[in-house]
C-alpha cells in the first residue's frame, strides 16, 4: 500500500488537491489497482532496451504540411488581458 506521503507525491505530480479522507481512500483504491497491474511483473522478462512504438506505423518522411484551425483561438480562455492569456504570477522563473 502506498504511504500517505506517496499518495501526496502522486497527487502533487497530478496537480490534484486531496483531503485527508481522500488520501485514505486513494490509498485503498490505488492498492487494489496496483495489486492488479503489479501482476505484470510475473510475466516473463523481455529485452529491456528494445523500445516499442505505441502505434504500429512509421513516420512518413514525405508527409506534406496541412492547415489547422486557428480562428477564435482565445474564445475559451477563462482569463485574458488584451491578446494575452493571464495566469497567477509564475514564481518559478
Amino acid at each position: 500500500m502506498l504511504t500517505k506521503e506517496e499518495v501526496l507525491h502522486v497527487a502533487h505530480l497530478a496537480r490534484i488537491e486531496v483531503t485527508d479522507e481522500e488520501i485514505e481512500k486513494y490509498q485503498k483504491d490505488l492498492k487494489i489497482l496496483l495489486d492488479e497491474v503489479d501482476k505484470i511483473r510475473s510475466i516473463e522478462d523481455f529485452d529491456d532496451d528494445k523500445m516499442f512504438s505505441p502505434t504500429d506505423n512509421q513516420y512518413d518522411l514525405k508527409r506534406e504540411s496541412v492547415i489547422v484551425d486557428k480562428e477564435q483561438i482565445l474564445s475559451n480562455v477563462p482569463k485574458k488581458m488584451g491578446n494575452f492569456v493571464e495566469v497567477p504570477v509564475m514564481i518559478n522563473e
Binding site: I16, E17, E36
Partner: protein, 483 residues
C-alpha cells in the same frame, strides 16, 4: 408524428429522392423523439442548427448517397464546431468547440445532420456512463439497467429509436460494450482507419472513433463514410477498400476461431450458451469453428490498465484552468489554480485514473510498467495475428454479462475494467471489432456477439455479421417503438 426514422436508410432515401419527405421532416421527428425520451441520452441538442442545416439541404439535389439528410448523434468527446464539447465533465461544461473533428468533416461532407452530443462516461472513463457529470443514461430495454459505456448515450439514442446512427469512441470497448448492452450494432474499426483529430484523447494509442447503428449494413455505410486518411493525425492511414463489398456474400471456405478464454467461466452461462448456439448454427452452414488458445489473452486487462491510465494521466494534464474550461475562481496562487481546478473540475473516477497513471509513470515505474506493457502488447498482437493466419475471424461474446442495475458497485475501482475484459484485445492490437445482438438473456436483455478481424479487414467482419444477422430470428427493434 410520422415514423420515417424507423424505416431503413434505403427506404428513407427513396422517400427523400422522390420528394415525399424532406430532411426537415426527419429532423423534426428526431427532436420529437428526443423531447419524448426520458433516457438521458443527450447532453446538448441543437435543434435550430439542425433545422437550418436541413433547410440548406432542401436546396440541393438528393444524390445517391444513402446518408444524405440522415440525422446523426455524436458522442460528446468529438469536436463539432460551435457546439459544446463537455466530455460529460464539469471541466468542460462551458467549453465550445472552435473546430470540427476529422470524422465530422466527413459527416458534414456526406450531408448528414448533427442533432446533438450524446451522454457518456466522464472523459470516456467507465463502462456504464454513470461517471457522467450529467447523470447516467438509461437502458431502453429496462429503465433500471445501465446503458453500458462509455458511449452509453449514443447506444441509447440508436437503440431507443431516437436516431438511426451515432458516433462513439472506443478505447477499451466503449462502443461495443454499450452496443451489446442495448442490442445494436457497434464497430470499433482498425486503429488509424478513422481520424482521431478532434476526438478528445483518453489513451492515444488505443482510442478510435466507432460507429453505432441498428443493423450491419448501415453500420458499414457509416464507417465507410468516415474512413479517411487525415493529415492531421499521423497515425491515420489511407483507405480505399470498399468495406461493404462482402456484405451478404456466401461464406465459402470460412474459418472462425473462438478463444477458449472467451467461453471460460468468467462469462455468464446464458451468454456462453448463446455463443455455442451461434457456433452450431455456423457449423450447420459449413463454417469451420475451432477453439483456440491465445497467449497473454488473460493478461490483457493488466496491460490495458497500465497503458490507458498512463497515457490518460498525461493527456488530461492540459486541463488546468488556463486555456479553456473550468477554472477555479480567485486561486491563492498558481499551484492553487492547478490543484483546485483539477480537484473540482474532474469527477472521482477520472481523478483516480489520473492518480494511478501518474504513479505508473513516475520514477523508475515507467520502465517496469509502461514500457513492459508495450512490449507484451506487441507480443499479444503477434499472437492474434497468428490466429488470423489460419482463420478468417475470431468470435466470442462482447461482454461477460448483460446490462446490470444502475448504481451497482459504483465505487469498485476495478469494475469498469472487468466489464471490458473481452473487448480490450482489439484495442491492444489495433484490430477491428464489431458487436452485434444475437439474442436475449432470461431478463430479456440483449446479448452481444463480438467479431474480431485482422487489421484492415472490416469487410470480412461485415460479411460474417450480415450472414448471422439474417439467421438470427430475434427482434431487437421492439424498444424503438417505445418512445
Amino acid at each position: 408524428m410520422s415514423k420515417y426514422l424507423s424505416l431503413s436508410l434505403q427506404e428513407i432515401h427513396e422517400l427523400l429522392k422522390n420528394k415525399k419527405i424532406t430532411p426537415k421532416d426527419l429532423v423534426m421527428e428526431c427532436f420529437d423523439n428526443i423531447e419524448k425520451s426520458n433516457l438521458n441520452a443527450f447532453i446538448n441538442v441543437y435543434k435550430d442548427y439542425a433545422l437550418s442545416e436541413a433547410s440548406k439541404l432542401e436546396e440541393l439535389e438528393v444524390d445517391d448517397d444513402l446518408l444524405f439528410g440522415i440525422p446523426i448523434a455524436i458522442k460528446d468527446n468529438i469536436m463539432v464546431k460551435d457546439m459544446k464539447c463537455t466530455c460529460a465533465s464539469k471541466m468542460l461544461d462551458n467549453f465550445v468547440s472552435i473546430y470540427d473533428a476529422g470524422c465530422i468533416d466527413e459527416i458534414k461532407r456526406h450531408h448528414m445532420i448533427i442533432v446533438g452530443k450524446t451522454n457518456m462516461d466522464e472523459f470516456a472513463m467507465g463502462s456504464t456512463s454513470e461517471t457522467s457529470y450529467y447523470g447516467a443514461p438509461h437502458n431502453p430495454w429496462n429503465y433500471d439497467k445501465v446503458s453500458g459505456g462509455s458511449s452509453g448515450g449514443s447506444a441509447v439514442a440508436v437503440s431507443s429509436g431516437i436516431i438511426p446512427l451515432a458516433l462513439g469512441s472506443d478505447t477499451g470497448g466503449s462502443v461495443r460494450q454499450p452496443s451489446s448492452f442495448t442490442g445494436i450494432v457497434g464497430m470499433k474499426p482498425t486503429y488509424g482507419r478513422v481520424s482521431r483529430y478532434g476526438l478528445v484523447a483518453f489513451a492515444s494509442s488505443l482510442d478510435q472513433v466507432g460507429v453505432m447503428s441498428r443493423n450491419v449494413y448501415e453500420n458499414a455505410l457509416l464507417l465507410k463514410a468516415i474512413s479517411k486518411e487525415d493529415k492531421r493525425d499521423l497515425t491515420s492511414f489511407e483507405t480505399n477498400d470498399d468495406i461493404t463489398c462482402l456484405i451478404n456474400k456466401p461464406l465459402t471456405n470460412f474459418k472462425v476461431a473462438i478463444p477458449k478464454y472467451f467461453i471460460s467461466d468468467i462469462v455468464d452461462k446464458e451468454i456462453r450458451d448463446k455463443i455455442l448456439e451461434i457456433k452450431t448454427m455456423l457449423e450447420t452452414n459449413h463454417v469451420t469453428v475451432d477453439f483456440v488458445d491465445i497467449k497473454y489473452i488473460d493478461k490483457t486487462a493488466i496491460l490495458y490498465q497500465i497503458i490507458a491510465m498512463g497515457e490518460a494521466s498525461s493527456n488530461l494534464a492540459r486541463f488546468d484552468g488556463i486555456k479553456y474550461g473550468y477554472s477555479y475562481l480567485n486561486p491563492k496562487d498558481l499551484e492553487d489554480l492547478y490543484k483546485k481546478t483539477r480537484r473540482y473540475g474532474f469527477g472521482s473516477e477520472v481523478k483516480r485514473r489520473i492518480m494511478v497513471g501518474s504513479y505508473l509513470l513516475s520514477g523508475e515505474n515507467a520502465k517496469i510498467y509502461y514500457n513492459k506493457a508495450l512490449q507484451i502488447r506487441d507480443d499479444l498482437s503477434k499472437e492474434f495475428q497468428k490466429v488470423f493466419d489460419n482463420y478468417n475471424l475470431i468470435i466470442g461474446p462482447t461482454t461477460a454479462r448483460c446490462a446490470y442495475n444502475l448504481n451497482t458497485n459504483l465505487d469498485d475501482p476495478l469494475k469498469s475494467f472487468m466489464d471490458d475484459i473481452l473487448v480490450m484485445h482489439a484495442n491492444m492490437g489495433g484490430f477491428p471489432s464489431l458487436s452485434m445482438p444475437v439474442g436475449f438473456n432470461s431478463e430479456h436483455l440483449p446479448i452481444g456477439l463480438q467479431i474480431i478481424g485482422n487489421r484492415m479487414d472490416e469487410k470480412t467482419i461485415y460479411q460474417l455479421a450480415s450472414f448471422i444477422e439474417k439467421e438470427i430470428k430475434d427482434d431487437f427493434s421492439e424498444v424503438r417503438n417505445g418512445i
